[in-house]
C-alpha cells in the first residue's frame, strides 16, 4: 500500500484518470486531491446544497472520465467546470421566479449567450445582498467565468478549460463582467472600506 501511495503522489490527474478507466478505484485519488476546493466552491455558490452538488460533481466526473483529455494534467479546472454547470442548473431549478430563458442566436460566430442577466432570487439569497447587487446585471455565463477566476484563482486558460469555451471568449466574458461589476460597485457606493480608492477614481 505504501508503494501505491508514493506512486500516486507523483502521478498527474490525467494519469490517474486514465488509470481509473481500467481500475475505477484509482479515481479516489482524484477525489482526495480536489474535493476540498470543489466543496468550497459549491458551498460558496449554492449554500448548504453545495455539499450535494460537490458530491454530484465527482459522480459526474467519474462517469465522464472517459472523455477527459489526457493533455490536461490538472483536473481541477475540469471539475470546477462540471460543478459550475451543476450549480447553474441547480440555481435555475431553485429559482421559482426565474424568467423564461430564451436562447439568443449565435453571436460573433463564437458563442450562444443566455439572456439571463438578472441574478436569480435563489442565487441572490445565497450570495447575500451586497454581492448579489454587485453581480446583478452580469449574465450568468459571464458570472461563472468571473467567479471561477476570482474564487478559485483559475487563469484564463483554465477558465476556458473549465467552461469548455475558447480562450478569447473567456477574455471577453471576464472583461465584460468586470466592467459591469465596477459600474455596479460605483452605483452602490462601495467605499474605501470595501474597495480600494483607485477603483472608485
Amino acid at each position: 500500500m505504501s508503494f501505491d501511495t508514493q506512486r500516486t503522489l507523483v502521478d498527474s490527474d490525467a494519469v490517474l484518470i486514465a488509470r481509473s478507466l481500467a481500475t475505477p478505484q484509482a479515481f479516489g485519488e482524484v477525489f482526495d486531491r480536489h474535493w476540498p476546493s470543489v466543496y468550497r466552491y459549491c458551498r460558496s455558490r449554492a449554500g448548504a446544497d453545495g455539499e450535494d452538488l460537490a458530491a454530484e460533481t465527482f459522480r459526474l466526473a467519474f462517469d465522464l472520465r472517459g472523455t477527459y483529455e489526457s493533455e490536461r494534467v490538472d483536473a481541477r479546472p475540469w471539475l470546477l467546470g462540471l460543478a459550475t454547470n451543476l450549480i447553474r442548473n441547480h440555481l435555475r431549478r431553485c429559482d421559482r421566479g426565474a424568467r423564461a430563458v430564451a436562447r439568443m442566436p449565435e453571436q460573433d460566430g463564437s458563442e450562444n449567450l443566455m439572456e439571463e442577466t438578472a441574478i436569480g432570487r435563489a442565487e441572490a439569497a445565497l450570495l447575500g445582498p451586497m454581492l448579489a447587487q454587485a453581480l446583478d446585471g452580469i449574465p450568468s455565463s459571464d458570472r461563472d467565468a468571473l467567479l471561477l477566476m476570482a474564487w478559485n484563482g483559475l487563469r484564463y486558460e483554465e477558465v476556458a478549460e473549465a467552461l469548455d469555451i475558447p480562450l478569447g471568449t473567456v477574455r471577453s466574458r471576464i472583461s465584460r463582467a468586470r466592467l459591469r461589476l465596477r459600474a455596479r460597485l460605483m452605483e452602490l457606493g462601495v467605499g474605501p472600506d470595501g474597495l480600494e480608492p483607485d477603483l472608485l477614481s
Binding site: M1, S20, T23, P24, Q25, F27, G28, F31, D32, W35, P36, Y39, R40, R43, S44, G47, A48, G50, E51, A54, A55, F58, R59, F62, L126, L127, G128, M130, L131, A134, L146, L147, M149, A150, W151, R178, L181, R182, L185, V190, G194, L195, E196, D198, L199
Partner: protein, 364 residues
C-alpha cells in the same frame, strides 16, 4: 496584484465563508464515489440502476454501495456429527443446482448450536468458528440484490485464499472470468489483519484491523468512534463474505465486529435454519452535526456557524435512525442475508456462500 485588480480583490473578499469539509462528509462522499466505481465494474449490464444513496450520518452507504456490488452469499454448511467428511451445499434457491462440493477427510465439524437461553456474542461465535474445518481454496459468493423499485441483479464473486479475485454476473461466467485474469479488489489487508486478530482481545483486534484497512485520517484523534465504527462495519462485512470457510479470518472479523458500538446480536431463524441476526442501529443523531454542548460553548461567529450547521442537519431528510441487519449462520458465521431498512435504499441482498476449489473454475 495590480491596482486594476481591485474589483477581483473585492470579489475574493466577498466569497461566502465556507468551513472545510469535515471528515464525516468527506468520508461519506468518497465512499459513495468508490462504491460507484465498484458499480461501474460490476453493473455494466444495468446502466439504469440508480445508485444507492449513502446515508448522511453513517458510512452505511459504503456498505450499501458495496453490498450492491460485491454482495456475498451464503450457504449452509451441512455438518454431520462425528463425520470426517464435510459437504458444502447451497440452500434451496436460484443457485441450488450449481452447488460445488468439497470433501475433506480427517476434519470434524462443529455440531452444537447456541442455546437459545444462552446469551450470544460475536466473540463466542468467533470461538465456535475457530473449531470449524478448512476446506477448499476459495470462497464463492453468489448474491441477489433486490431493490424496493423491483429491480434486482445477481453477481458471482470468487475470492481465492491467495488474494486473487474474480467476478461475473452469473456463476456460469466465472470460467471466462478466470481466463481473463484476476480483477482488482483488494480486501487482502483486511483479511490478513483479521487472521492475525483471531486470537487477540477484541480491542486489540479492532486497533490492528483499523490500522490495516483505514487511511490515516480514520485512525487519528480527529476520527470519532462512529466514524471508525463505520469503516470497520463496512469492511468487516465485506471480508466476512470473502473469507467464509477460513476459520481464523472469520474469527478475527467477528472479534473486530464485537467492538462496534450500536451492534446487537440476536438469535433467530431463517428458512428453518438457526441464525444470528447482527443488527446495527444507527442513532438518529447525526455524528457530523454540532452537538448542543458544542454550540453552547461557542461564541460569536463560530457559534453562528455551528447553529447554521445544526439547522442544516435538522432539515436533512437523510438524517434519522437506520437499521441494518445481517443474518448469519450461527455455526459458521456465513452471511445469509443483508437488509437495510432505510427508505431510500432498502436493499435486500440474499447470499449464497460456499467454499470451492478454484480449479473447478479453471483457475490454477
Amino acid at each position: 496584484m495590480t491596482d486594476s485588480n481591485n474589483d477581483i480583490k473585492w470579489l475574493e473578499a466577498q466569497q461566502p465563508p465556507v468551513a472545510p469539509p469535515d471528515s464525516e462528509t468527506t468520508m461519506r462522499t468518497r465512499s459513495a464515489l468508490l462504491a460507484r466505481a465498484e458499480q461501474s465494474r460490476h453493473l455494466a449490464a444495468l446502466p439504469d440502476l440508480a445508485m444507492v444513496t449513502p446515508r448522511r450520518h453513517r458510512l452505511a452507504g459504503f456498505l450499501k454501495g458495496r453490498r450492491v456490488l460485491v454482495a456475498a452469499a451464503a450457504a449452509a454448511l451441512l455438518v454431520v456429527a462425528g463425520a470426517t467428511t464435510a459437504v458444502l451445499e447451497m440452500p434451496g434457491g436460484a443457485h441450488s443446482g450449481q452447488t460445488a462440493q468439497i470433501a475433506q477427510s480427517g476434519q470434524s465439524a462443529p455440531t452444537t448450536a447456541f442455546s437459545q437461553a444462552q446469551p450470544v456474542t460475536l466473540v463466542a461465535l468467533a470461538s465456535r468458528v475457530l473449531a470449524a474445518p478448512t476446506q477448499g481454496n476459495a470462497t464463492l459468493v453468489l448474491h441477489t440484490n433486490a431493490f424496493p423499485s423491483g429491480k434486482s441483479f445477481t453477481g458471482a464473486d470468487l475470492y481465492l485464499d491467495d488474494g486473487r479475485y474474480y467476478y461475473a454476473a452469473e456463476q456460469s461466467g466465472l470460467r471466462d472470468a478466470g481466463k481473463a485474469g484476476p480483477q482488482d479488489y483488494d480486501l487482502k489487508p483486511a483479511i490478513d489483519a483479521a487472521a492475525s486478530a483471531a486470537h487477540a482481545q477484541p480491542q486489540e483486534a479492532r486497533t490492528a484491523f483499523l490500522k490495516a484497512i483505514a487511511p490515516l485520517w480514520y485512525q487519528g484523534a480527529t476520527a470519532t468512534q462512529a466514524t471508525q465504527d463505520n469503516i470497520i462495519w463496512c469492511t468487516a462485512l465485506d471480508a466476512l463474505g470473502a473469507a467464509y470457510g477460513r476459520p481464523e479470518v472469520m474469527a478475527g472479523i467477528l472479534n473486530v465486529l464485537s467492538t462496534v458500538a450500536d451492534v446487537k446480536v440476536e438469535s433467530g431463524s431463517y428458512n428453518g435454519q438457526s441464525v444470528l441476526n447482527i443488527v446495527l442501529t444507527t442513532p438518529a443523531h447525526p455524528s457530523f452535526a454540532p452537538t448542543q454542548e458544542a454550540i453552547a460553548k461557542a461564541t460569536g461567529e463560530l457559534r453562528a456557524k455551528l447553529e447554521a450547521e445544526a439547522a442544516i442537519a435538522a432539515k436533512d431528510p437523510n438524517v434519522g435512525a437506520d437499521v441494518e441487519t445481517v443474518t448469519a449462520d450461527d455455526q459458521t458465521a456465513a452471511l445469509l442475508l443483508y437488509k437495510d431498512q432505510a427508505s431510500d435504499a432498502g436493499v435486500t441482498v440474499t447470499y449464497h456462500v460456499s467454499r470451492v476449489s478454484a480449479a473447478d473454475y479453471g483457475i490454477r
